[in-house]
C-alpha cells in the first residue's frame, strides 16, 4: 500500500481543460471518492493516475515515485472499470490469473493466489465459467477479484457499481467498504453518485468543471459546503437555495424576498452577510433544518406547497418560496395538501449563506 499525491495536475484536450490544477493527497490506506456530475473531470483524473492518459502538466506521485512517465503496468496499480472489462475469451480463473501471469509468477503461486481471491469473493464455484455466463453482480465480483489478486499499491475504481441494479448496488457498496476495512487498501473511487461517496469514503473530493471544489471528510463536506455547487450536489434531496437580498432594518440584518416578506438574521449570520461582496445573498437550507408550520409564527416566512411525497418514514414537501423550490421533510402525521398556504421556519444555526456573485459560502470569521 502507498499514498498518492496529485500536484497541480492539468489535462487539456486542445483548448478544452478537462482537469484544472487539481492537487490532493490520498493517505496510505485511505478511501477517497472523486465525485461530481458527468464531465467534471473525475474519470480523467483517475485515468491520469492509472497512466491511461498522459499528463499535460503537474505531478503524480505513488508511494515515493513520480509516475508521470511510467506505463500503467509499472505503476503498481489495479483498476476496476465501470463496465468491468473482463476478458471475454478467458474463464474466470484465467481472468484472475492474467495479472499474475504478466508478472511472471510461478504457476503454483498463481494457482494459490487465484484460489485465495476466489475464496475471499465467494466465487470458487464460478472459476471455470466464462464472463458471459455470469450475472452482472458476479461479473463485478470477478472484476474486483482481478484487482485484488495482485496486491497492488493503489486500487482505482471507476464507477464500479453504476451498472448494477439498485439492490445489488447497496449490497456491493457494503462489500467494497468491508473489503477496504479488511485490506487497509488505498482506494481512489470515482462516482457520480454522491450517496456512494458519502457512505463509503474516508474523504471525498468534489469536482466540477475540471476543478477540485472541496476535499474533506463527508461529514465536513455535508456540514460546511464551500460553495453553492457543493451545497447543491451533496445531500439528497438537494439543499434548497433561495436567492434573497440583504438589507439593514432597525439595526438588524434582514434578508428580503421579492415576494415582499423578510427574514431577520441571527447576529452570527448577520456577520456572515456583512462579508458578502454584494447585497445579493443565497440562503441554503437542508430539508431537515426547515420547520413547516400551518400558520404564521414569528420568524417564519410564507410559502406555497407544490408537491407532497410521502416515503413512509418522512414526507417530503416541495414548496415555492421566492421563486425557488424548497424541500422540507415533515413527519408523515402532518397532512399537507398541494397548493396549501404554509409557513417555513429556518434553523439559524444550520442555515448556509452564499455570496450570490461569487457563489462561495459566507463565513463569520
Amino acid at each position: 500500500m502507498a499514498h498518492v499525491v496529485l500536484k497541480d495536475l492539468v489535462k487539456t484536450y486542445g483548448s478544452f481543460k478537462a482537469v484544472n490544477d487539481v492537487s490532493l493527497t490520498v493517505n496510505d490506506g485511505e478511501f477517497v471518492a472523486l465525485v461530481g456530475p458527468s464531465g467534471c473531470g473525475k474519470t480523467t483524473t483517475l485515468n491520469l493516475v492509472a497512466g491511461l492518459t498522459s499528463v499535460t502538466s503537474g505531478d503524480i506521485v505513488i508511494g515515493e515515485r513520480v509516475v508521470n512517465d511510467l506505463d500503467p503496468k509499472d505503476r503498481d496499480i489495479a483498476m476496476v472499470f465501470q463496465n468491468y472489462a473482463l476478458y471475454p475469451q478467458k474463464s474466470v480463473y484465467k481472468n484472475l490469473a492474467f495479472p499474475l501471469q504478466m508478472r511472471r509468477l510461478p504457476r503454483d503461486e498463481i494457482d494459490r493466489k487465484v484460489k485465495e481471491a476466489a475464496r475471499v469473493l465467494d466465487m470458487t464455484q464460478l472459476l471455470e465459467r466464462k464472463p458471459r455466463e455470469l450475472s452482472g453482480g458476479q461479473q463485478q465480483r470477478v472484476a474486483l477479484g482481478r484487482a485484488l489478486v495482485r496486491d497492488p499499491a493503489v486500487f482505482l475504481m471507476d464507477e464500479p457499481l453504476s451498472n448494477l441494479d439498485a439492490k445489488l448496488r447497496v449490497q456491493m457498496r457494503s462489500e467494497i467498504k468491508r473489503f477496504h476495512q479488511d485490506l487497509k487498501a488505498t482506494i481512489i473511487y470515482v462516482t457520480h453518485d454522491q450517496l456512494e461517496a458519502v457512505t463509503m469514503a474516508d474523504r471525498m473530493a468534489v469536482m466540477n468543471g475540471g476543478y477540485l471544489q472541496q476535499y474533506d471528510t463527508p461529514a465536513q463536506v455535508f456540514a460546511h459546503p464551500v460553495n453553492m455547487f457543493v451545497a447543491g450536489f451533496i445531500g439528497s434531496p438537494a439543499m434548497s437555495l433561495i436567492p434573497l437580498e440583504a438589507s439593514a432594518a432597525n439595526g438588524d440584518t434582514v434578508l428580503t424576498s421579492a415576494e415582499g416578506w423578510s427574514l431577520a438574521l441571527s447576529p452570527r449570520n448577520a456577520q456572515k452577510v456583512a462579508r458578502a461582496t454584494t447585497r445579493k445573498v443565497v440562503l441554503g437550507a437542508r430539508h431537515s433544518t426547515i420547520r413547516l408550520h400551518k400558520g404564521a409564527v414569528p420568524g417564519s416566512v410564507p410559502a406555497k406547497a407544490y408537491t407532497v411525497e410521502p416515503t413512509g418514514d418522512v414526507t417530503f414537501v416541495q414548496a415555492f418560496l421566492s421563486g425557488a423550490i424548497v424541500n422540507v421533510s415533515v413527519s408523515p402525521t402532518i397532512a399537507v395538501a398541494p397548493d396549501e398556504q404554509i409557513w417555513l421556519e429556518f434553523d439559524q444555526e444550520r442555515m448556509h449563506l452564499f455570496d450570490a456573485e461569487t457563489e462561495m459560502a459566507l463565513k463569520a470569521d
Partner: protein, 296 residues
C-alpha cells in the same frame, strides 16, 4: 372499461395478422431469391455430369439420361493435357489468392487497429484516401497499372496480380477490420495494460483473439476477390502456364465446339474452395466473441 377489454384482443389480432402478412411476404421473397441464386448452380452441376451431346440438346434434358463423371475425370487427370492445364491453373489461382490473402491480413490488421485506436494528424484524411481507389471502376486502372507493372518488370508474373489485388482488397479489408476493432471495448486493453501488459502484449493477447471473426471475414473476402478476378489476370498474364482459373476456364470455349460439360465441371470445382472456406469458418462469424466482456 368494458370497451377497452373488448377492443384490446381485436387490436392484437389485427396486429398479428399484419405481422403475419409481412412474414409471409418475406418468406416468399427469400424463397424466390434462393431459387434465383441456386438454380444456375444446380444447372451447372447437372450439365457437368451430362455427355457433350446431351448438354447441347433442345429441348434440354432436365435430368441427364446417362449421368457420368467423365468431365471431372478428365479435368483431374494429370496424364491428360486438359487435366494438366486445369490443375496448373488451379494451383496458380491458389497461390495468387493465398498470397493476396496473407499479405492483406498482415497489412490490414495493424492499419485498421491504428485507425481505430490512435489519433494522429491526417487520420481522417488517410482513412478516406484509403477508399479513394475503390471509388473508380477497376477498368480505369487497367492500363496505368499495366504500364506500372511493365516498368517494374512484373508483367507475366503472379506478383503483378498479387500487388493489384491488394490495391482493391486492402482498403476494404482495412475498413472491415476497423469496424471490428471499434467494437472491441478499449477498456479491455486498458485493463490488460494495468494488469501488466505492454501495449503490444495487450494487442496480441487480448485484442487479437477477439478480432478473429473480423480477420477471418477479411481473409475470406480477400481470397474470394482474388480467386474470382478476371480482367487483370487476363491482361497481365499471357503465358499459358501462368494463367489463373478464371482466365484458364475460358479455354473451354472455342470457335466451333464448346465443351459445356467440361466447362461446367471446371466452374463447379472452381467454386468448391470458396464454399469449403465458408463452411469451415462460418461458425466464427456467428459467434459474438466479445459477449460478456463489458456491461452496457
Amino acid at each position: 372499461m368494458s370497451t377497452i377489454a373488448e377492443t384490446a384482443p381485436r387490436n392484437q389480432a389485427r396486429r398479428r395478422m399484419r405481422i403475419d402478412g409481412w412474414r409471409w411476404g418475406g418468406r416468399i421473397f427469400l424463397a424466390f431469391m434462393l431459387l434465383y441464386t441456386a438454380l444456375p448452380m444446380i444447372w451447372m452441376l447437372l450439365t457437368s455430369i451430362k455427355s457433350g451431346f446431351a448438354a447441347m440438346q433442345f429441348p434440354p434434358q432436365w435430368w441427364p439420361d446417362q449421368p457420368n463423371l467423365s468431365s471431372y475425370q478428365k479435368l483431374l487427370d494429370p496424364q491428360n493435357s486438359v487435366g494438366q492445364d486445369f490443375l496448373r491453373f488451379f494451383w496458380n489461382s491458389l497461390v495468387v489468392s493465398t498470397a493476396t490473402t496473407i499479405l492483406s491480413v498482415i497489412v490490414a490488421v495493424p492499419a485498421a487497429y491504428a485507425f481505430s485506436r490512435f489519433t494522429f494528424p491526417g487520420r481522417n484524411f488517410l482513412f478516406f484516401a484509403v477508399l479513394l481507389r475503390n471509388m473508380f471502376p477497376a477498368v480505369i486502372f487497367l492500363v496505368p497499372l499495366f504500364i506500372l507493372m511493365r516498368a517494374l518488370g512484373l508483367v507475366n508474373t503472379h506478383g503483378s496480380l498479387v500487388l493489384t489485388y491488394l490495391t482493391f482488397g486492402l482498403p476494404l479489408a482495412i475498413w472491415l477490420l476497423k469496424g471490428f476493432y471499434d467494437n472491441i471495448p478499449v477498456q479491455l486493453e486498458q485493463a490488460a495494460r494495468i494488469d501488466g501488459a505492454t501495449r503490444f502484449q495487450a494487442f496480441i493477447l487480448i485484442v487479437m483473439p477477439l478480432s478473429t471473426p473480423g480477420i477471418i471475414a477479411t481473409a475470406i473476402y480477400s481470397f474470394i476477390g482474388a480467386w474470382n478476378e478476371y480482367i487483370y489476370a487476363y491482361t497481365f498474364l499471357s503465358k499459358n502456364e501462368q494463367l489463373t482459373l478464371p482466365v484458364g476456364i475460358q479455354r473451354f470455349f472455342s470457335e466451333n465446339t464448346t465443351d459445356f460439360p467440361g466447362l461446367m465441371a471446371a466452374s463447379f470445382m472452381m467454386s468448391v474452395p470458396v464454399v469449403v472456406l465458408f463452411l469451415v469458418l462460418q461458425r466464427y462469424f456467428v459467434r459474438a466473441l466479445t459477449e460478456g466482456a463489458v456491461k452496457h
